[in-house]
């Protein structure tokens, strides 16, 4: 099993045994961190963001902002930064060379070695990463919310979190994912990035990309898989609840719409930046580190509003050498329902453009909210049942995020108690 990740660097886990860590962390300055940072600390520590070993220093941020490369020359598209106000830095007496103890859920989570403390021009960062400095763009808005200083340095997990049900069945670290892929005998596999529950249009995107990925491989033996890689991060009102996303995708395998030996549902933790093409590169990097060989990109991947052309996220791969990314993009147009063909079919094949019926998000949402089971050709009945079931079990009666879900949902993970 290869452990070589993005940039040709080996996947290394930066994780200490909690009991061994206690003596080393007891006297460190404690810094409470918000949930987004906690998620990124966990991703960094397990190697999802290889070759990064921690939060970026200024040279790396400069490289990413100005030329989409780390200081080492490795392709990287989104700044991974740890922000803190100058007031807090001063109040806690933080200086370069220190090690901080990052606290999440009131428990020690990880250490951060303070290699560099720096300022950055946030407007320039936003404009170069997102192609706009409009504060209405959610990625720009996130950038403008950063506190005034950044701390760059390596992180080490000192108290590994426990994933909560139902996520525990779907969270695989890069090393675990690579072992799983080897166990399944997959020589190729394609990532399907998602934040949705799957209708048949999504199902066909996955089938399309599996067929494209399989290509010239022998057919007698299964050597190709689909890895659903659901993104779990900050939720907004109206999003699908996380539990519905993972359990409905898994249902496609469970109920035979994908064979057991070709399909795997998994999750990563990441707060979407909606950076369109730049985020597509980032997603490709993370899935490379998971050991995935191909990545499907559909229409308007990671886009928002009208900031990007629907196929910008395809075209950006034309600007990057194959040697710079160890994953092959699979570019897909739309799948729609055609009443003339009488089937879900592909924009690149179907000639009934005028008659087509698109999988509109608004329409699908409206159908789900009414609880009226749609025809199985557009929505698998088992998937629909699980949406309603998860709404009751996890979503306070709704498959969509509402105020109650935001306030009372079960977190993705729990940081176990660790006495110092």
């Amino acid at each position: 099993m290869s452990l070589i990740g993005h940039g040709g660097k080996e996947i290394v886990e930066r994780v200490m045994d909690p009991q061994e860590a206690v003596d080393k962390i007891r006297s460190l300055t404690q810094i409470p961190i918000r949930n987004q940072i906690a998620r990124e600390v966990i991703m960094l520590s397990y190697g999802f963001f290889t070759p990064l070993e921690g939060f970026m220093t200024k040279a790396d941020v400069d490289g990413v902002v100005e030329s989409m490369r780390l200081a080492s020359g490795v392709v990287w598209s989104i700044p991974i930064v740890f922000d803190m106000s100058s007031e807090e830095i001063a109040a806690k007496g933080i200086k370069e060379g220190d090690t901080l103890l990052l606290m999440s859920q009131n428990q020690p989570l990880a250490t951060l070695d303070v290699e560099e403390i720096f300022e950055y021009d946030l407007k320039n960062m936003a404009a170069k990463i997102y192609g706009t400095d409009d504060e209405k763009h959610p990625g720009c808005a996130r950038t403008y919310r950063y506190a005034g200083r950044f701390i760059g340095g390596k992180v080490t997990l000192v108290n590994p979190p426990r994933m909560n049900e139902p996520y525990d069945a779907f969270f695989l670290t890069p090393r675990q994912m690579r072992a799983k892929i080897a166990e399944k005998g997959w020589e190729r596999c394609v990532a399907h990035q998602t934040r949705n529950v799957p209708h048949s249009g999504h199902e066909w995107l996955m089938k399309h990309s599996w067929i494209a990925c399989h290509a010239d491989q022998p057919v007698e033996k299964t050597t190709t898989g689909v890895v659903v890689s659901a993104v779990m991060g900050e939720k907004r009102k109206g999003d699908y609840i996380d539990e519905a996303i993972v359990l409905t995708h898994d249902a496609l395998r469970k109920y035979g719409y994908f064979r057991e030996d070709v399909h795997l549902t998994s999750i990563i933790m990441w707060d979407m930046r909606y950076a369109g093409p730049k985020e597509a590169i980032f997603h490709a990097i993370v899935r490379t580190n998971l050991g995935i060989t191909h990545h499907m990109f559909g229409r308007d991947h990671a886009g928002v509003g009208s900031y990007y052309d629907p196929y910008d996220a395809h075209r950006i791969f034309d600007t990057i050498s194959k040697d710079d990314l160890r994953i092959t993009p699979i570019r897909v147009l739309e799948w729609w329902f055609c009443p003339v063909c009488g089937e879900v079919t592909y924009m690149g094949l179907c000639g009934h453009t005028k008659e087509r019926q698109n999988f509109s998000g608004t329409v699908v949402r409206s159908i789900i909210q009414d609880g009226v089971k749609p025809p199985r050709i557009i929505f698998r009945p088992e998937v629909f049942d699980i949406i309603l079931e998860t709404a009751g079990k996890y979503g306070f009666g709704s498959a969509y995020v509402n105020d109650q879900y935001l306030a009372q949902r079960q977190p993705l993970f729990t940081v176990p108690p660790l006495e110092l």
């Binding site: 329902f337 009443p339 019926q357 509109s360 608004t362 329409v363 949402r365 409206s366 159908i367 909210q369 009414d370 609880g371 009226v372 089971k373 749609p374 025809p375 050709i377 557009i378 509402n402």
Partner: protein, 101 residues
């Protein structure tokens, strides 16, 4: 309400079971097939009724961009609207429906 004036409809999705109920009160023809055989019944609202719906049910939104309809009404509210349509054998029921709120 005449059907010539602008309306701000509530879309009620119609599966086979609901379609049978509409046919029984001779309203089957008012449904439109919109997505892979799934039908929708558009229950008209005046601008005033739309505004009252949005005020009474805070989750509801008027989608002016794509569907031009009142969306995100709770399921039980949509169920009651459908039941009233069947009971009255008419889609012009919003005045009566809203009188209870």
């Amino acid at each position: 309400m005449t059907h010539h004036e602008e309306t701000f409809p509530i879309n009620v999705w119609i599966n086979e079971e609901r379609f049978a109920k509409l046919q029984a009160v001779k309203l089957g023809d008012l449904t439109q097939e919109v997505f892979a055989g799934l039908k929708v019944l558009r229950v008209p609202c005046t601008a005033e009724q739309r505004d009252k719906v949005l005020a009474v049910f805070p989750t509801a939104k008027f989608d002016s961009a794509t569907t031009k309809s009142v969306e995100q009404l709770p399921r039980d509210v949509k169920d009651k609207i459908f039941d009233l349509v069947v009971e009255k054998a008419s889609v012009d029921i919003m005045e009566e429906f809203l009188a209870g709120y």
